[in-house]
């Protein structure tokens, strides 16, 4: 067991540090008097009563504050983090080096394209690499995250239908889907038609067929699905959806199972988002930024957001896309994340990416094999990169794992498994780490359930009262 306790430093809010008049910055001296500004701005000026709620601390104080805070996080760098659906694999440090190169980090979006050739070439290449990996015709790097990619994708579907003169009213979203799927589809006014998961853990084909009709814009599907299982009827599903004139949206969050092995575009999926912050090692940063690039089939290519990167004489931004759905964010997407993903893909190469997927699947199956006598497997079929168990006391199990130095898996998702424990070890965990993880899971499963309700014990804070936070929300520091 690697979880234990050690010294730690309490640390208040940054607003409770410092003292009036302190600052952590030195700006160059300036000769112009403040009054020049005051008399220019007049009624635009921020009056004293309109207080700036900012700390007053020296740089050493700020440094110590944030250094201490950071130490309260579990992270991939400190421990196994088998958060299902999140692909918490090792984030290479060379990525951080690359993204900070002055020739990338200091580029302004409105520099002339001639000055951006290196960056544009990188984006062009990345578009093509992702297209090849996913089996798509073209890729837009604009979306900032998975959900944003979903938005972009469904909008393209809507646009394609519209281009055919059609407005459809419904979209099929399996009950097992991630919350962003129905949230996205609903945004467009589509009625969400749910389909259930069969006893084999796959979409119930009979139900699906029954629900497909000409009002259906399509389906949003995750493959491998959120149980970590391959939807083996995927070609058939795509065909049926295409038959009624609909489109298939692929949620690519689980692409880490498939690199070099199978390509969603080849299945017949029309549009898919990639999570560069999952599959392609851009760091998750405690909740982003990510990059939710979307790949599309030929049919949807004309509708891609504008601009995309093109190669003509030189590399350039192509704005001349009359059927484009338009721009989904400012500038060109999270370029800093693209540099990291590009670096990763170039480092691994075709064989390395395939090996990564193979090892990811190997690791998940190993965990599955080692834990299946200790936890209930609601769907005991071949899993790919992740495995979903269930337990009577899911939350307590999660908290008990913390004391053993393992980050809890994703809990209570997918919704189709009550009390789900969704484990995605990823390929970068060694067998030894997996053994520790399995032992932790086994140990907790044998722990006195009563005792576990008070876990975790090793953390400075005990279990947090989430109900109270929601009941009377305190969302900002209350200054005294």
């Amino acid at each position: 067991m690697i979880g234990r306790t050690n010294f730690d430093f309490a640390e208040n809010l940054i607003f409770e540090r410092g003292s009036p008049g302190r600052t952590g910055i030195d700006l160059p001296q300036n000769t112009m008097s403040d009054s020049v500004v005051d008399s220019l701005l007049l009624e635009h000026l921020r009056p004293p009563a309109d207080k700036l709620v900012l700390p007053e601390c020296s740089e050493p104080e700020i440094n110590r504050h944030f250094t201490r805070l950071s130490r309260w996080n579990f992270s991939i760098d400190t421990n196994t983090y088998p958060l299902g659906s999140c692909t918490m694999k090792y984030n290479p440090r060379i990525n951080e080096w690359a993204a900070r190169l002055g020739g990338f980090a200091n580029l302004h979006p409105y520099m002339p394209e001639s000055r951006l050739q290196g960056a544009l070439e990188l984006m062009w290449d990345l578009q093509n690499y992702l297209a090849e990996i996913g089996g798509f015709k073209a890729v837009s790097l604009q979306p900032a995250a998975g959900a944003h990619g979903e938005f972009t994708g469904v909008m393209m579907i809507q646009a394609a239908l519209k281009a055919r003169g059609e407005t459809r009213t419904k979209i099929i979203v399996p009950h097992s889907a991630h919350g962003t799927n129905p949230a996205t589809a609903a945004f467009f006014g589509y009625e969400i038609v749910s389909v259930e998961t069969g006893s084999d853990g796959l979409i119930n084909m009979a139900e699906l067929e029954a629900k497909l009709d000409s009002q259906c814009a399509g389906i949003m599907i995750t493959n491998p699905n959120t149980l970590g299982l391959f939807e083996k009827n995927i070609s058939e599903i795509c065909k049926r959806v295409h038959d009624i004139g609909g489109f298939v949206y692929g949620d690519g969050a689980n692409l880490n199972a498939l690199m070099g092995i199978a390509r969603p575009g080849d299945f017949g999926i029309d549009v898919m988002h990639y999570n560069l912050h999952k599959t392609f090692t851009t760091p998750h940063g405690g909740g982003g930024p990510g990059c939710g690039a979307v790949g599309v089939s030929k049919a949807l290519e004309p509708f891609l957001p504008s601009p995309i990167v093109a190669k003509k004489q030189n590399y350039c931004f192509d704005y001349n896309r009359p059927q484009s759905i338009g721009r989904v964010r400012s500038f060109y997407g999270n370029f800093g994340m693209m540099v990291r993903a590009f670096t990763y893909i170039r480092e691994l190469g075709p064989q390395g990416l395939k090996e990564a997927s193979e090892r990811a699947v190997l690791n998940a199956n190993y965990v599955k094999a080692r834990l299946k006598d200790h936890y209930v497997l609601p769907y005991d079929t071949d899993c790919l990169h992740e495995v979903v168990f269930t337990h009577k006391h899911t939350l307590d199990i999660a908290k008990g794992l913390i004391d053993r130095g393992v980050h809890p898996p994703t809990v209570y998702f997918p919704l189709i498994v009550s009390g789900a424990l969704m484990i995605e070890p990823t390929e970068t965990e060694s067998k030894e780490e997996l053994d520790l993880l399995c032992e932790a899971f086994i140990e907790v499963s044998k722990e006195d359930p009563e005792k576990l309700t008070s876990a975790p014990f090793h953390t400075a804070l005990g279990r947090l009262n989430e109900a109270q936070a929601a009941r009377s929300p305190i969302l900002v520091y209350q200054h005294v």
């Binding site: 405690g286 930024p289 370029f335």
Partner: protein, 423 residues
């Protein structure tokens, strides 16, 4: 592969426990027809040495000097920030779903929310959005939820053109109209301050008019440094304020990732998009923080969520929080003042040199110079100096008009040189 640790023995042992004879077999659930039967056509793997050569080539050198702003102004961010972000505990944690082992991220978000709400003079802020443009779109959507039956918002041309484009896409998808003509019945009136041309808007007046029309007032700020000197929208009654924090995060990176800021009044809390961190207590009564009010969010609420956003821009929010904390009360005001002073200086020098300044009146850190042609600017580009953004990219009516940003980073000498080169 240096990131993978499976030895052949490991694989054999693991397969044995799994009860399979090869890794291949683990993929048996994928039908043959769905397999890719060839290697991916990607360039071959590179060692770190080769990778560095390649990336150094692609990156080339950093630009020499740039006066480009237009929604992506860089400011001075102390080196501490960039180094702090490299700490694995910040960099490689996920969204703080397990609060007991995420108090670092959670407390930082709570601090971010406090700072953002305070900057805008509003009561609450969320944990971040993708960028200023999508934050604006979300604000408009929220306004329309709050004013049902009025699916239209007013967005004038003084708002960043790309923000308007993004709103067209996103609001369009939500069947909400955008108008830049006054007089329509709208759910919200949007204004950018300082506006896209660097000028200050009559905020109080705009907000008042909006409220008179029974519309919400939404403020956009593409460079929150301005808020160190100018009145906050909240203090004047604005209902929602959004912004883009990239200039205070450290790297411009071709415009992203930055961080979208989103603040509003407490009364609108339930309609707010995005993640929220709230204060609570632990089992022993100690103060702690958790993600809260997720009943607005997609993972709980699914198709009824206020937004589909999940991953946001947390690490950039952390950078923003650190930078603002370093500046602090006095430093941040000084920063804003220096920006205005640099623009005043530029305008004085430009005027003296006979250059035409397009907009006068109170301004922040940008200036529009009307040149006779584009030649001087193109010439500077040859020296890797970028004098500004030509407005006719979006506003054909403003031919040869250059939007020039002058921040605390520029010396008076640098501005003198610029003016000289442009005349």
């Amino acid at each position: 592969m240096r990131y993978l640790s499976h030895t052949p023995d490991d694989i054999v042992d693991m397969l044995q426990i799994i009860g399979q004879s090869s890794i291949e077999n683990l993929f048996d659930s994928i039908p043959k027809e769905n397999r890719l039967n060839r290697p991916l056509e990607l360039p071959k793997a590179l060692s770190e040495i080769e990778l560095k050569t390649l990336l150094n080539e692609r990156a080339g050198h950093a630009p020499k000097l740039s006066f480009l702003g237009a929604g992506a102004c860089t400011h001075h961010v102390p080196e501490l920030v960039s180094q702090m972000l490299l700490r694995g505990e910040w960099l490689t944690a996920y969204t703080p779903y397990q609060p007991e082992v995420s108090q670092g991220t959670l407390q930082a978000i709570f601090e971010f929310q406090t700072i953002v709400a305070g900057l805008f003079g509003l009561e609450i802020a969320n944990a971040s959005m993708y960028d200023g443009a999508t934050a604006l779109a979300e604000a408009c959507l929220m306004a329309c939820r709050l004013k049902p039956g009025t699916p239209c918002v007013f967005i004038p041309k003084t708002v960043h053109p790309e923000y308007r484009e993004v709103c067209e896409t996103i609001l369009g998808a939500a069947r909400i109209k955008i108008t830049d003509q006054p007089g329509n019945s709208v759910a919200a009136v949007v204004y950018q301050n300082p506006n896209f041309f660097g000028q200050l808007e009559p905020q109080a007046h705009i907000i008042q008019e909006a409220h008179q029309q029974n519309a919400l007032a939404i403020a956009v700020c593409t460079d929150p440094v301005a808020l160190g000197a100018i009145a906050s929208p909240g203090s004047l009654g604005a209902d929602i304020a959004v912004g883009e924090g990239i200039g205070l995060c450290g790297h411009l990176s071709l415009g992203a990732p930055g961080v979208g800021l989103f603040a509003t009044k407490k009364e609108f809390l339930r309609q707010m998009p995005g993640r929220l961190c709230g204060q609570t207590v632990d089992s022993k009564g100690q103060r702690g923080f958790v993600l809260t009010l997720s009943t607005r969010e997609q993972h709980i609420r699914r198709e009824k969520a206020t937004s589909n956003i999940c991953t946001n821009h947390n690490l950039m929010a952390l950078a923003f929080t650190m930078t603002l904390s370093l500046y602090g009360k006095t430093g941040f005001r000084e920063l804003a003042y220096q920006n205005i002073k640099k623009a005043i200086y530029l305008r004085q020098k430009a005027q003296k040199a006979g250059l035409q300044i397009l907009f006068n009146g109170p301004h922040f850190n940008e200036t529009v110079l009307k040149l006779t042609d584009t030649q001087a600017v193109r010439k500077l580009e040859q020296e890797d100096i970028f004098a500004g953004v030509f407005l006719d990219r979006w506003y054909p009516e403003y031919k040869n008009c250059l939007l020039v940003a002058t921040t605390e980073l520029y010396t008076e000498e640098g501005i003198d040189n610029l003016v000289r080169s442009l005349t």
